[in-house]
């Protein structure tokens, strides 16, 4: 069996252009790898569809300016792909088949990427281990006893295990970046509005954002190039036209970097900080100007997240009622139909969040909690923007700890939020933030995040690619 999928996309592209390989070779290799490794990365696989598409592409000239042509991609199972199931890893949508393509999926199809399947995740993206999935939880390829992170766990596993070079995830409070960190890959949560949300099943509408998950920084920028586009179907999206790879390779000397003291405080495990500090030392030695700063409200992100995300989720998930689509348990009265369908259809974590969210928006609580949280969120955003007046980028670890044992979060619903206390600020402020591998702890990869002001992804890629090159980590599972 060939190993084309271990090559860089540029190299694969060369082979395709020179007709050394065909798209179908990539598809076959991808499915072989998926079938040979039981990692539960996918909920739905589309072998027939992928083969059919690969054969269609065979008859086309490979466009030399489109590096993504013919490349296999995995899509998180909360993003609509026409004619494929979209389960959101939930019983309530277990048999729901999408009748339309998400706007990002249209773009991906138009560019000739080949969709392999829909990836496993936490139910409705609620969780940070992918263990709340209604299906068999995905497994961390680096160590089968460790969680792959979440909620975009399946997408992260697919890229880390080299099933597909590319994957899409979604990030509401770290759901792209934390699994990227746990799996040794690169995951970007773009600026809010950079990528259309039309066709992404909403969890918390004001925080959700689709983003690329890839093996390296350059390929991440390529995929963001492909999916970032203003969309008349999403009023919160922006029309921007830029090449995110354009600053990659440019000198980073004199770049001004802020590190919030909170990001290197005792909320983060010591061994994670050790790895992070080495990277910072390296950057300082290469001429970056580094300061440690205080940011107002920075410790409140997890609380804000719980109020805002759950409030919005309780409303967004109300449509799953057994009346028009999805699971429907028929009962004599309307109220019993609602009750039975939703009780059986949603898992524990989802129900917990709907309950909390409903409570938070209820009567006077809306003022006490939700409206207040929106105010503080605004203040938090402003205090970060103030930092960005003086600094190019903010750095910190992605996660407070390395991938941990499976099944340990189950009895403590708050514990999983603690994973994301360093990455939720980007969602609160709408800022772009990327996680990239910064090293290993006990043979497990661990990531760092680079956050920038709105629409500064190119700069993030510039620094990220520099760090990637300097560290030169071997991120292929089993190769160490």
């Amino acid at each position: 069996m060939s190993n084309y999928l271990d090559l860089d996309i540029k190299e694969i592209h060369e082979l395709l252009v020179n007709k050394k390989i065909k798209p179908i070779d990539l598809v076959e290799e991808s499915f072989k790898r998926i079938n040979d490794n039981e990692l539960n990365a996918f909920i739905t696989l589309d072998y027939e569809g992928a083969k059919k598409r690969a054969l269609e592409l065979e008859n086309m000239e490979v466009p030399t300016d489109n590096l993504l042509f013919g490349i296999p991609i995995a899509i998180k199972d909360n993003i609509m792909v026409k004619d494929l199931k979209c389960t959101c890893a939930s019983h309530i949508l277990e048999n729901f088949v999408s009748i339309y393509d998400a706007s990002v999926v249209e773009l991906i199809k138009d560019l000739g990427m080949i969709i392999i399947g829909k990836t496993n995740m936490d139910e409705f993206a609620m969780g940070s281990t992918s263990e709340t999935s209604y299906f068999k939880a995905p497994i961390n390829p680096w160590n089968k006893n460790k969680v792959p992170g979440g909620s975009s766990g399946g997408s992260a596993v697919s890229v880390a295990a080299r099933f597909t070079p590319l994957a899409l995830g979604s990030d509401t409070g770290g759901s792209i970046r934390q699994p990227a960190s746990f799996n040794g890959i690169v995951g970007m949560k773009p600026t809010y509005g950079r990528v259309s949300r039309f066709g992404l099943v909403a969890f918390a509408s004001s925080l959700d954002q689709i983003g690329p998950m890839t093996r390296n920084v350059y390929e991440n920028a390529l995929l963001l190039n492909a999916i970032s586009k203003g969309d008349p179907k999403d009023l919160t999206s922006f029309e921007t036209d830029e090449d995110f790879t354009r600053l990659i390779g440019k000198d980073i000397k004199d770049m001004k970097i802020a590190i919030p003291n909170y990001f290197v405080s005792d909320v983060v495990d010591k061994d994670v900080l050790e790895v992070f500090n080495k990277v910072i030392e390296m950057l300082a030695s290469k001429g970056c100007k580094i300061d440690y700063v205080d940011v107002n409200h920075i410790d409140k992100a997890a609380i804000l997240y719980q109020i805002i995300a759950m409030g919005e989720a309780s409303s967004n998930l109300a449509r799953f009622d057994g009346i028009r689509y999805g699971l429907s348990l028929k009962e004599d009265t309307l109220e019993d139909l609602y009750k039975k369908t939703r009780t059986s259809g949603f898992g524990r974590e989802v129900k917990r969040r709907i309950m909390v969210g409903s409570y938070i928006l209820s009567g006077e609580n809306a003022k006490i909690y939700y409206n207040k949280a929106l105010q503080i969120r605004d203040d938090l955003k402003k205090s970060f923007e103030k930092i960005f007046e003086d600094y190019d980028l903010i750095l910190g670890p992605t996660s407070s700890r390395v991938a941990y044992d499976v099944n340990i979060n189950h009895d403590d619903p708050l514990r999983s939020f603690m994973d994301d206390i360093l990455v939720m600020h980007a969602n609160m402020g709408g800022f772009p933030s990327m996680s990239l591998p910064m090293g290993f702890i006990d043979e497990l990869p661990i990531g760092m995040q680079i956050m920038g002001k709105g629409f500064s992804e190119a700069k993030i890629y510039q620094l990220g690619s520099f760090i990637e090159k300097e560290l030169n980590l071997n991120l292929k599972v089993g190769a160490r």
């Binding site: 009023l235 409303s315 009622d321 689509y325 928006l361």
Partner: protein
């Protein structure tokens, strides 16, 4: 005589006459086959997002303007969360905190006494599905889901059912003529709820809401019935409860639907999928300048043309006819209005048609009016051909010829008829010659009868007088 004072507040939902729905590009049209005007957004599919129909915003600006409201320049939408099958997302997108219009009024004229009915607010929201209950099932028609509405809420400032009726008539007229809505209560594009309480002093009594009343007249009847019901209960020493009732027009009664639970909890919060809407002063002004000529201007024009107040109001209330009339520059408005409100209205009502859906072209109509004015045809002639005029692509002269009601303009033929009539009615002729002017009318009638209405009445009248003079 009752010593309770009624206090009435009115809430009206009006569908905006847009081409598309409020938050999706589906067609906004009443009367199509069920569930044909809907897409994944109207159905509340997972993953969909709302867009915002700017035409609906502009119509709401026009509505707020003719109701003399202040117009908000920065607003957001809110989600109203509740579970019901006619509510596809189980939340409705509305404007809870920032209604587009606020603090307006509608002036009514109650037999010369003018009163301003105060409008608290006007907000934009999406309509629900239409539920069709059949036996044990409920069917849902999503054609209505997402149709843009404005809800107009008055202060509790009315005290008689007549005021409420006058307010609704005026409100309907204003919105109809501003092109905001077609305000058809029977099709549900205007829906009225009345809040009624009674009290012996200045404190407001317990409020009862009567929902979805089927006509403006019925709003008056429902208010009077409900006030009387409340009074009887209070006089019996019973306590009133806040409740929602409906009006049954057949029984002329209000019927309990549900008792209001304390503090309905709709868990409102700002709609995150729609950014703040900013209306610039320039845009508002531009939209306002585009408001068509309003009803009162037309009414003045009609009265000036000699049309009676009753007929003027009838024309105004039937906006299609009034709009049709607006298309003509030089026309005898009085003759035209008689035609429109007479045989043409009868035809349209009978066939449930709009005048714009008939073959009554502008050319045809102005020719008919001219022929009537010149007495080249009679009203009776028109009655005989009205169906053909409305339904066939045929010009008037050909039609008259075909129907054999071409006017007899040959003087010789007319003279023969006149002389026959005069010879048959010698007594009447001598009455006329003796000075009885009314006899002329009788003789003229006989001439028309003898000719089967085919002579030109004006010519015949002139000839008749000439012939009578000869017999002096």
């Amino acid at each position: 005589m009752s010593n309770y004072q009624k206090t009435i507040g009115i809430e009206v939902h009006v569908e905006l006459k847009t081409k598309e729905k409020l938050f999706s590009p589906s067609i906004n049209y009443y009367g199509n086959l069920a569930n044909t005007n809907c897409n994944i957004i109207d159905l509340g599919y997972p993953g969909v997002l709302p867009t915002l129909n700017r035409e609906a915003l502009d119509l709401a600006i026009k509505g707020a303007t003719v109701l003399n409201c202040n117009i908000r320049e920065k607003m957001h939408f809110d989600r109203k969360n509740y579970f019901y099958p006619d509510n596809p997302k189980n939340f409705q997108i509305t404007e809870e905190r920032t209604p587009i219009g606020y603090e307006g009024y509608v002036e009514i004229d109650d037999d010369g006494v003018k009163k301003k009915i105060e409008i608290l607010e006007m907000h934009i929201e999406e309509d629900t599905c239409k539920s069709i209950h059949s036996k044990e099932r409920t069917l849902l028609d999503f054609n209505r889901a997402g149709v843009p509405l404005v809800e107009i809420v008055t202060k509790p400032c009315m005290h008689t059912s007549r005021e409420a009726v006058l307010y609704l008539e005026k409100l309907r007229e204003l919105l109809l003529y501003a092109g905001v809505s077609d305000c058809k209560i029977e099709e549900g594009s205007m829906r009225c709820d009345a809040n009624i309480s009674i009290s012996k002093d200045d404190n407001l009594g317990v409020k009862v809401e009567v929902k979805n009343i089927g006509s403006i007249t019925n709003v008056g009847l429902a208010i009077d019935y409900e006030a009387k019901r409340q009074e009887e209960l209070l006089e019996k020493g019973e306590k009133l409860h806040e409740e929602t009732r409906r009006y049954d027009a057949k029984l002329n009664k209000t019927i309990l639907m549900r008792v209001k639970e304390t503090g309905n909890d709709y868990r409102y919060f700002p709609e995150p999928d729609i950014p703040y809407v900013i209306l610039t002063k320039e845009h508002i002004k531009k939209v306002q300048e585009d408001i068509p000529v309003l009803a009162h201007v037309r009414r003045e024009k009609y009265l000036k043309a000699g049309i009676s107040l009753l007929n003027s109001n009838k024309l105004i209330a039937n906006k299609d006819l009034s709009d049709y009339l607006e298309e003509f520059q030089d026309i005898n408005l009085k003759t035209a209005s008689n035609l429109l409100l007479g045989d043409i209205s009868a035809y349209l009502n009978k066939n449930n048609k709009s005048i714009f859906d008939t073959k009554l072209t502008k050319d045809k109509f102005s020719l008919i009016v001219k022929k009537l004015d010149d007495s080249l045809i009679s009203n009776k002639n028109f009655k005989d051909i009205v169906v053909d005029v409305m339904e066939r692509d045929i010009d008037i002269d050909s039609l008259l010829k075909e129907k054999g009601i071409e006017n007899v303009v040959d003087d010789k033929l007319v003279l023969d008829i006149i002389n026959k009539v005069l010879n048959d009615n010698e007594k009447v002729v001598s009455d006329y010659l003796g000075g009885n002017e009314r006899s002329l009318k009788f003789l003229m009638g006989q001439v028309m009868k003898e000719s089967h209405g085919s002579v030109n009445p004006k010519i015949a009248n002139d000839l008749l007088i000439k012939e009578l003079d000869k017999r002096k």
